[in-house]
């Protein structure tokens, strides 16, 4: 049985929002990578929304770091949304992901931060 996650992309005025719905582990990190890099392409900012992600392990976190680095080379900024108290946020906190990638509690916070960056 393979781990399954679905990805939905939303383009909003120059930024991309990718919603991850499901679990992320070593079995589907490549799909995550592709989904994020595809969503981010052509935008200045890409938001990965993990609100609906139930599971995120070190493989997933590694992939997020990797895609963040690759997008940054293209000038595309990556933001993460993971609600406090959720499993992905717990895992992200354990590796201090917010030192590398901005992590927001909610999509609204992410948008506000991005809007502030743009000014």
């Amino acid at each position: 049985m393979t781990t399954s996650a679905r990805f939905h992309t939303r383009d909003v005025s120059g930024r991309a929002e990718l919603i991850v719905d499901g679990e992320i582990d070593a079995s589907n990190t490549e799909q995550l990578y592709e989904a994020v890099s595809r969503a981010g392409s052509g935008h200045s900012t890409c938001v990965v929304d993990l609100t609906k992600a139930d599971y995120l392990d070190s493989a997933g976190i590694n992939t997020l770091f990797r895609v963040h680095r690759d997008l940054a080379r293209l000038g595309i900024r990556l933001h993460l949304v993971a609600p406090l108290g959720s499993c992905p946020r717990y895992a992200l906190n354990l590796v201090c992901a917010h030192d590398v990638i901005p992590v927001h509690d909610a999509i609204a916070g992410a948008r506000a931060a991005i809007a502030a960056e743009g000014l």
Partner: protein, 1270 residues
């Protein structure tokens, strides 16, 4: 609430020792003292709650009957006064017979009162009581009020009751007596049957049944009853053995056949005797009251019986029908003899009257009797009759119509006709004009009838004689006249009398020479000259017949009434030859009529209403001067003398009537004072001019009616004396009735007063039971004292420095500003202080106003004082005193309780929060659920507890326990026992050891403590349950297959009662998925059933309830809690512990590779469910394990296929995971990889990676956080 309530030197406690509690010498306390309480639910008295002991003490000391019911099991106590209700000879404990009898009535009431806390009252409740050797129908009024327990909740019921049998019975009997006056065929609960018999004075005649209530025919047999014997000596008798005769017949309204009857004679006229045979209720003892009732009944029903008898079987006394008084004169005057050759035709449609008249007339004349006017006319035509006596009212042809026809008939025109008429007046006048010769108005005396009939026969003969002009036979005529019973005279044409017969001379006592001519006129009463000589002279002048009534002097000098009739005589030529006349002495009739009028007037006067004094006054005015010159009514007074209730005499032209109302009221108040014997007041014998008639009620003489004539009156004769006796009888009835009415009114008032008092006490009991604080209680006490007698009331309590402090005032002005209130409290020297020291109420009538000072004391403990001041200076009535004492008693109890409550309430609330576990620790491998239901909502504190204590490794301790009692004490003890037991278990002691140690600790806490508890240690891995039990109901186990078993253990003593402490350990291996049910007795105990029944009920419910392993326990728990009975008055704790149906270990293998990760997480998550982890906790294990597996897949089998083994183990305190492969790990080579192992270390307590050439094993473990299940 500050704690000044009951502190200081008057600090009160309920009696603690058995000796104090059951002090005294009464039968009840003796029994309670000696009773072995250890086997009862209540346990030893020393362990009883304070309220129970305090209230019980009050009940036991109470002189009035009281019942006290305690707790949900409704344990009943009664006192000596209850015992007294049953008589003195009871030997058994708490009057079980009375209890058993009244329990049906008050049991449900007590339950309601316990449930609602509202007082209830049942009035005049019938109670069949075995007493005095019979099943007695008794009545009681019960007042049941709630008793508030130590915790402020209703814990018992206090029933005060009073026997109302006497009142109920008296009311019922009174009603029966009244009913009997209308219809003597009465019966009821107090009178199974009443039969009336006539025993004729003539011994040849058989006694016969007159009237009576429904009975079996056997009882209607005169031979059953000693009727003759009773009539002969006039003494009542009792007859037994009736139940057999009547074949066990049970009269309506009674329980059981009436076996005995009272046979009571009531003398009637003619030597006849009426006899009442009255059934005696099998449910009442025969006593003085019962006898009085039957005598009253006989008196009241007497006339109605006669009426009923006449209607059914007319007797001789029935002839004078329509009369109020029996006509008694059937004695013939010896001097009155008649000729036997005159036939008399009697016409009456009533056969009895025909027979009577024939018998009466038959002694003098021959008679023929017919029933109708038609037959009479036919007979009259046939001739041979000297006179016709006819009833004026006959259905076929009225008397008048008959006379009219006869007068028109040549064959019967001259037959004299005397009509018997029921009325006088117009009908008589009409009759006389029609041709009737005379009228007799019923009732008539037989003497009068004979005299008149005789006179008319003679006059008719005289008429016939003149008509056939037999002047030659003058001598024969005179001889004939002399033989006649009438007074005959004749006169010549000039009017001078020329003949008087022998009867006339005998009547006047004079000689013919004195009487003839005008001499007779000297005998005319001086006042009647205008009547007799005048009417005669007028008739003489007109030569017409006349009739006149006047008074004529008799031989003895007295004046008697005569009816004088005269008809003109014609000689052979047809010329006027003078008069022939006949006189009849109608004195008897006149006096009879006068007596009748007086009797009728007296009856009307008595019945006309008004106060008794008014009625007596009326009677005096009627009797004087018409019947007597002086009339007095004297009755025996309470002081042994006589009270004159009525005095009437002819004064100077006016009649003076005095009825001293004061004397009358005093007499009514004192009740009937009777004298033995039948003589009247001394000194009044049988004088010709005086009559003394005893006033007799129920066979007892209570006074006399004295009537004294004067010189102008004829002497009283037999009939006058009969009238006087009748007057006395009626007066007696009225006096008795008035007194009964007075007694009834007084009784009703007393009952109403008592009822009002009882209602008020009930009200105060109810109010007090709702009052929580000292102030509330004091306010209620003061307010009630004020309501009762419109008095000012103050409740005081001891304050600092022995000075009294007013806690509540009512009606004493705003804030109790008045001087007397300040005096009460300002000093320790006030009388109230000494009243409180002596614990004795004081009733002061000293000026300016009456003051009551009462201690508020419970037993020897004085809580406070109550001062009540009346608005005026008078004595406190006994009723008021009783009520104030009762209020003080109730108030004292409530005050004592409130004082404790004030302090306890705060502490209990605090303790409760700290002691009652409202969350259980989550223990992996078991599911737990617990609930604690308190008996009341007032203070949620009790002695029940439960605990779930995770021990080390894979063991968890579960505890259930119950400290006897409620409230602060029990809660505090519970807290100590609970922590002590948990501590011993945590230290690693086995359950039996832990119990033994806790028991030793418990004995140091309180001397009379009792704790039942069951504790056990569950081994999570093996399901082994080790447990020990200290007197607690056995826990139940529901096995996975649905069967139910008990966790049995040897009977071991509860903790804290000082017994041996060798608790034994037991063990049982519980299969996964078993549920242990631990509970306290509130769940299984119901009042009135053995605890086994509750245990069976619980086991049955447990079997029936579905309890699938995955389902939360709360559904099962809530369903089990519905087993608590509706009364639910005990605390209930319920703890459910279910061992996991899932294994505590995990063994699962996966093919290496990331695709296995999702499946790994699923299996792991399922397995972890039994550990009750939070979402993030679970994530930690999933993440750690996932990382380890990922590593193995990535590093060990990067290029090969292999198996990864995952092993897990859950214990009470931690979860261990082991992931192993058979490959060898390589070092991570990229910077952004290799985060797996730090993550594992971050979320686990320990991670060890054991890498060997043959494989790598990652071992991780993490202690469980003490997450608590909500």
């Amino acid at each position: 609430m500050p704690a000044r309530s009951v502190s200081g030197h008057t600090r009160t406690e309920p009696p603690t020792s058995r000796a104090d509690l059951f002090a005294g010498s009464g039968e009840t306390v003796r029994h309670l003292r000696e009773f072995d309480w250890s086997g009862t639910r209540l346990g030893e008295p020393e362990t009883w709650p304070g309220t129970l002991r305090t209230t019980l003490r009050t009940v036991l000391e109470s002189p009035s009957p009281m019942l006290f019911v305690w707790g949900t099991e409704l344990y009943p106590f009664s006192n000596d006064a209850c015992r007294a209700i049953l008589g003195e000879d009871r030997e058994t404990g708490s009057s079980p017979q009375f209890l058993a009898t009244v329990w049906n009535v008050i049991g449900p009431v007590c339950e309601r009162v316990l449930a609602t806390g509202e007082a209830e009252r049942i009035e005049n409740q019938i109670v069949w009581l075995e007493r005095g050797g019979i099943v007695e129908e008794t009545f009681f009024t019960f007042s049941c009020g709630p008793v508030t327990g130590d915790d402020g909740a209703t814990a018992g019921v206090l029933c005060a009751f009073s026997e109302t049998t006497g009142e109920v019975r008296a009311r019922r009997r009174m009603a029966l007596v009244r009913a009997a006056a209308e219809n003597p065929a009465v019966a009821g609960p107090d009178l199974p049957f009443a039969l009336w018999w006539l025993v004729p004075g003539d011994r040849a005649a058989e006694p016969e049944f007159l009237v009576g209530s429904e009975v079996p025919p056997a009882l209607r047999d005169p031979l059953v009853w000693p009727l003759r014997e009773v009539a002969a000596d006039g003494r009542a008798r009792q007859v037994g053995g009736l139940a057999v005769r009547a074949a066990g017949w049970v009269a309506p309204g009674t329980a059981g056949p009436a076996d005995r009857a009272h046979v009571l004679p009531v003398p009637a006229s003619h030597g006849d005797t009426l006899v009442l045979t009255a059934g005696l209720s099998p449910n009442t003892a025969f006593d003085e009251d019962h006898l009085g009732f039957l005598e009253m009944l006989a008196t009241a029903a007497f006339k109605a019986v006669l009426r009923a008898a006449l209607k059914a079987v007319p007797k001789e006394s029935a002839v004078a029908h329509g009369s109020e008084t029996p006509s008694t004169d059937t004695i013939l005057s010896p001097g009155l003899t008649g000729t036997q050759d005159e036939r008399i035709l009697v016409v009456d449609d009533n056969a009895d009257i025909r027979a009577y008249l024939q018998r009466l007339l038959g002694e003098h004349w021959e008679t023929s009797a017919v029933a109708s006017g038609r037959e009479a006319l036919d007979l009259a035509r046939s001739g041979g009759f000297g006179l016709m006596l006819a009833d004026a009212m006959m259905p076929e042809a009225e008397g008048l119509e008959l006379v009219r026809e006869m007068r028109a008939d040549p064959g019967a025109e001259s037959l004299p006709v005397v009509l018997l008429s029921a009325g006088a007046g117009g009908a008589v006048v009409q009759g006389l004009t029609t041709g009737v010769d005379d009228y007799l108005v019923k009732p008539f005396s037989s003497r009068d009838l004979l005299a008149r009939v005789g006179a008319h026969l003679v006059m008719a003969r005289l008429r016939r004689t003149t008509e056939i002009r037999l002047d030659a036979s003058e001598q024969r005529f005179r001889l004939l006249c002399d033989e006649a019973p009438a007074l005959i005279w004749s006169a010549g044409p000039a009017g001078g009398w020329d003949f008087v017969n022998r009867a006339w001379l005998a009547h006047t006592g004079r000689t013919p020479s004195q009487e003839l001519g005008e001499g007779w006129a000297e005998g005319v009463h001086p006042d009647d000259g205008h009547l007799m000589p005048a009417a005669y002279h007028d008739a003489l002048a007109r030569r017409r017949a006349f009739e006149v009534e006047y008074r004529h002097r008799r031989a003895d000098g007295s004046y008697g009434w005569l009816i004088a009739r005269g008809v003109p005589r014609l000689d052979s030529e047809g010329a006027f030859a003078g008069f022939i006349g006949a006189c009849t002495d109608v004195t008897g009739r006149k006096r009879h009529e006068e007596r009748h009028r007086i009797l009728a007037a007296v009856t009307a006067g008595l019945d006309a209403g008004g106060a008794l004094a008014e009625r007596l006054g009326r009677i005096g005015a009627i009797l004087v001067p018409a019947f007597a010159a002086r009339c007095t009514l004297d009755v025996s007074a309470a002081d042994g003398g006589l009270s004159r209730l009525l005095h009437a005499c002819t004064g100077e032209g006016e009649t003076e009537v005095r009825v001293p109302t004061e004397v009358l009221d005093r007499w009514l108040e004192a009740g009937i004072q009777t004298k033995s014997g039948t003589a009247g007041p001394p000194g009044a014998g049988e004088l010709p001019g005086a009559m003394v008639s005893p006033i007799t009620v129920q066979g007892r003489v209570l006074g006399a009616l004295t009537l004294i004539g004067d010189g102008g009156r004829p002497d009283y004769e037999g009939e006058d004396r009969a009238v006087a006796a009748e007057l006395a009888r009626r007066l007696a009835l009225h006096l008795d009735y008035a007194r009964l009415l007075h007694v009834e009114r007084t009784a009703r008032k007393a009952v109403e007063r008592a009822a009002a008092r009882s209602a008020r006490l009930q009200e105060i009991t109810a109010s007090l039971s709702r009052a929580l604080t000292v102030e509330q209680v004091a306010d209620i006490v003061a307010a009630h004292a004020r309501t009762v007698m419109d008095a000012a009331a103050v409740v005081v309590m001891p304050g600092a420095g022995h000075v009294l402090t007013a806690v509540a005032t009512a009606g004493a002005g705003p804030g109790g500003e008045e001087t007397w209130v300040r005096q009460l409290t300002g000093t320790a020297d006030h009388p109230l202080a000494s009243v409180m020291r002596d614990r004795t109420p004081r009733w002061q009538t000293s000026s300016p106003r009456a003051l009551a000072l009462l201690p508020l004391a419970v037993g020897v403990d004085v809580v406070g004082g109550l001062a009540v001041r009346l608005p005026e200076d008078r004595r406190f009535t006994p009723g008021e005193q009783d009520e104030l004492v009762a209020i003080a008693g109730l108030g004292a109890c409530a005050l004592q309780r409130a004082g404790r409550f004030d302090v306890e309430h705060q502490m209990a609330a605090t303790l409760q929060r700290s002691l009652l576990p409202d969350r259980l620790p989550a223990v992996p491998g078991i599911s737990t659920w617990a609930k604690y239901l308190t008996a009341t909502s007032e203070v949620t504190i009790g002695g029940d507890w439960y605990d779930v204590v995770p021990l080390d490794d894979d063991r968890v301790a579960v505890v259930i326990g119950d400290v006897s009692g409620h409230g602060i004490g029990a809660a505090a003890v519970m807290g100590q026992i609970r922590s002590s037991l948990s501590a011993y278990l945590l230290e690693g002691h086995d359950p039996d050891q832990a119990l033994a140690r806790t028991a030793r600790m418990a004995e140091t806490l309180e001397p009379d403590l009792m704790v039942t508890t069951c504790c056990g240690v569950l081994h999570l891995e093996t399901g082994l349950f080790e447990y020990a039990n200290a007197g607690h109901p056995p826990p139940l186990v529901r096995y996975p297959d649905g069967s139910v078993g008990h966790l049995r253990s040897a009977v071991s003593p509860p903790l804290g009662i000082g017994g041996p402490k060798d608790y034994r350990a037991f063990e049982e291996r519980l299969p996964p998925g078993s549920t242990i049910v631990l509970y306290t007795d509130g769940l299984v105990e119901r009042r009135g059933e053995p605890i086994d029944a509750g245990l069976r009920r619980l086991a049955r419910r447990l079997r029936q309830e579905p309890d699938p392993p995955g389902q939360p326990l709360d559904q099962l728990g809530e369903r089990l809690l519905t087993l608590i009975g509706s009364e639910g008055n005990d605390d209930t704790a319920l703890l459910l512990v279910r061992t996991s149906g899932s294994p505590l270990t995990l063994e699962t293998d996966f093919p290496a590779g990331p695709d296995s990760l999702a499946e790994l997480r699923r299996r792991l998550s399922d397995w972890l469910r039994i550990a009750h982890l939070s979402k993030l906790e679970e994530f930690e294990f999933l993440l750690a394990c996932g990382e380890a597996v990922s590593n193995a897949a990535e590093h060990a089998y990067a290029f090969t296929e292999g198996i990864i083994r995952v092993r897990g183990r859950i214990t009470a305190s931690q979860i261990t995971l082991r992931v192993s492969d058979e490959g060898s790990w390589r070092e991570p080579y990229e910077a952004d990889r290799g985060r797996g192992i730090p993550l594992m270390r971050a979320v686990m307590d320990s991670v060890t990676i054991d890498a060997t050439p043959t494989g790598t094993t990652v071992e991780m473990s993490r202690r469980l956080r003490r997450m608590e299940l909500s």
